[in-house]
Amino acid sequence: MADIAVDIAELANRRRLCVRASLSRRHLIERLFRAGGLTAIVIALGLVATLFGMMASKGAPAFMQATLSLDVTFDPAVITVAPPPARAAGQSEADYRAAMLVWQRQVTLANWSAIVETAVRNAAPPGFEIDRRGALALVETNERHRLRDMFVADPGLLGQTVRVDMLASANTDNWLKGTINRALPDSRQQLSRQTRTLADTLLAEGKIRFAFAWHLFTNTDSRSAPAAAGLAGAFVGSLYMMLIVIALAVPIGVASAIYLEEFAPRHRVTDLIEVNINNLAAVPSIVFGLLGAAVFIRYFGLPMSAPVVGGLVLTLMTLPTIIIATRSALRAVPLSLRQAALAVGASPTQTVFHHVLPVTFPAILTSAIIGVAQALGETAPLLLIGMNAFVASIPATPFDQSSALPAQIYLWQGNENRNFFEARTSAAIMVLLGLMITLNALAIFLRTRLERRV
């Protein structure tokens, strides 16, 4: 008997020693595992930081752009046009517009480049030699059209000298910001030696300064004048699409969630709808683009590149998100609430609309905002319905050709003037991310705010 007891104690002792001997190794593994987890988190957080840091550092310079302040003389010797036509009595609207167009064409034919050139020469130090092309290369090409527009709007400017802020060309901006390697030989620089020297001189004299690039938000895209390209058209296009998504996806999504969760009898058809919605949520976005191209554009004959098509495609994409979120919100409502309503005689419809739905309102609102934010950043389906086309106007209606914010980013990243457009694309991305963060913050704010009240 005693022998066995000794044996057991011996065995236990040996096992204890064995465990103790392996402890240090096991603790080492424990520490390594823990360190691995921490590393993973550090990597993930580091990636977020790198991504945002890189966008901010690349994009921030694009918000400040080289701008010239020049004294522009509307020289009557250069602008040789008659005064604008007045509308005669009894003249039809179409005839008056035609006459006005003839006059505007004459104004356009005036040598506006010469006026810009003179303005640049006047700003240069006395005796500075620069040829015509060199002088014009300093200023963005669309500024001469702006001078023309100023004159058309106010023909009284003829003969006057006005100080005008003009955007420097993209190449000048690159040179002054150092986005282009300043040590490159002349043959590989975009600007001539004279223009570069003049740009540096004007910057030193304060005639060129870096001003906030408001036109980034107010201008439309432009190919001939890259420095003046802006996001206005893309903003309006995206706005139309988001309005369509809000107007269609939210009510339809909430309605179908209510039906599936509250009314649908449990049988094969509703099971099918349920499986279907879960699968739709995971269908790649580009397939929705194919659907848009085949159904909305080819079959229904809706216009290419129009926000209405984009809005419809994004609506179909957002629907599953909203349905799934609304359903889980409805499911979270306690059964007692329903039973109380039913017990005092409310019909099932009244129970849902008067009692259950109001409680889920914050969650539905949040999911709607998040769904819209997701739709705002979606790019791939837009490429297939032609929204990556170059459009230089602000769409007046959702049926007009238009761009959208993510499509504009796609277009800009592919621009040949890499040095200039890399910053511009990053700036556009900053704007897009800013919008999305604002929307998500709004969702979080509303959720915490409204949930407290319920």
Binding site: L51, E93, I286, V287, L290, N388, N440
Partner: protein
Amino acid sequence: MIPLLVAALLLVLMGIAYTQGFSRSRAIAATGVRLHSRPAYHGSLVAIRCLLPALLVLGLWVLFGPGMTRAFIVAQLPPDVAALDEPAFLTAVRRIEAIASGFGVAGQVQPYEAAAGEAVRRFHTFALLVVMAAAAGVGILGLLAALRRISPTLRARNKVESVVRVLLLACSALAILTTVGIVVSLFNEAFRFFSFVAPADFFFGTVWNPGFATTGTAAIGEYGLLPLLWGTVMIAIIAMLVAIPVGLMTAIYLSQYASARLRNVAKPIVEVLAGIPTIVYGFFALVTVGPFLSDTGAAIGLDIRATSALTAGLVMGIMIIPFVSSLSDDIMRQVPLSLRDGSLGLGATESETIRRVLLPAALPGIVGALLLAISRAIGETMIVVLAAGNSPVLRFNPAEPVSTITVTIVNQLTGDADFAGPQSLVAFALGLTLFVMTLLLNMVALYIVRRFREQYE
């Protein structure tokens, strides 16, 4: 202007109908009779019965109106103009429409044009008045009929509720309709593609070289799917190699080790990665990750291209990290706490508990989650469009540029409205392949996840 008028008409009709039904039923109730439904339901029912016929009339006009206007304009044209060839005829019609709209046309106005323009203008006004009057008329008829049916026993609430229920059902049927639309349009166009190219050549071809058909619709070039499929799979594998360890370890650390404070800060930040638009990732890959990889490769003597499968896969992996981590977090949380406590109670260390108890128990669910992540990687477009290099050649070196199914869809379809030739139709065959692949992955994944949930419920 006209839509506003129509909307105003409908709103007015609806308002009148609702208030009429409401006050009529209230008047009945005031006599002391018990109504089956409350007055608001009677009002709604009258409004529905008033609006439906009005909407029907307006819908008919939307369907047939433009054709009637067109026929009227053509009837106004003198015979010599009506006999003109197609473009000149269209110009004449457009000029008359411009005169009728009051904008006028530049240049001389022919006498017949002025007369026709005037007639068309009168026709427009007349038609508008007639349609509005008809809509209002049938609306009021519906209203009167509905008002007469108001009685204490009318089950107005049940009727309104069944209308609401039908509307709700119609909304949820839209999801089915979307799927049907996707399947029908993909199959339809893909079959047209297969009339140019044999399915076997498409699915088993190893060369992707679609020529440009300048004339006719002849199939020029070769449409082999395999290079694209391999590119897609290779990038997805690289992405998973990045996302699985980082995502899984993040989930484990955050759910098992991290203090509440760290979790509350780190979890939302990691999830920010999921909300970033993919175009942003694409640009990040193109200007930061690609050059970085290429420089690193050059420093250690490897030839890595800036746009390659490696670049795209790496960035796609970053995109999927939050997807993997939040899904596996969810799933590990469903493993009963008793399993964990039992293991800890026997003296296992935390990492041993996680590796030998928690992970095996959660494995089916995690596999399902990973399948979902893979299907997302396969369908991802913008990152690969920008950073994979678009080179549809069968290559096995991840440092070389590749192309994927999604990239090719974008390349073949952008800027093309009438998909007549195989060059653009192939996008639908590719889309169909992609759709089927992701659908299968999702169904398997959802099945596994559901089975897993049931296991612990």
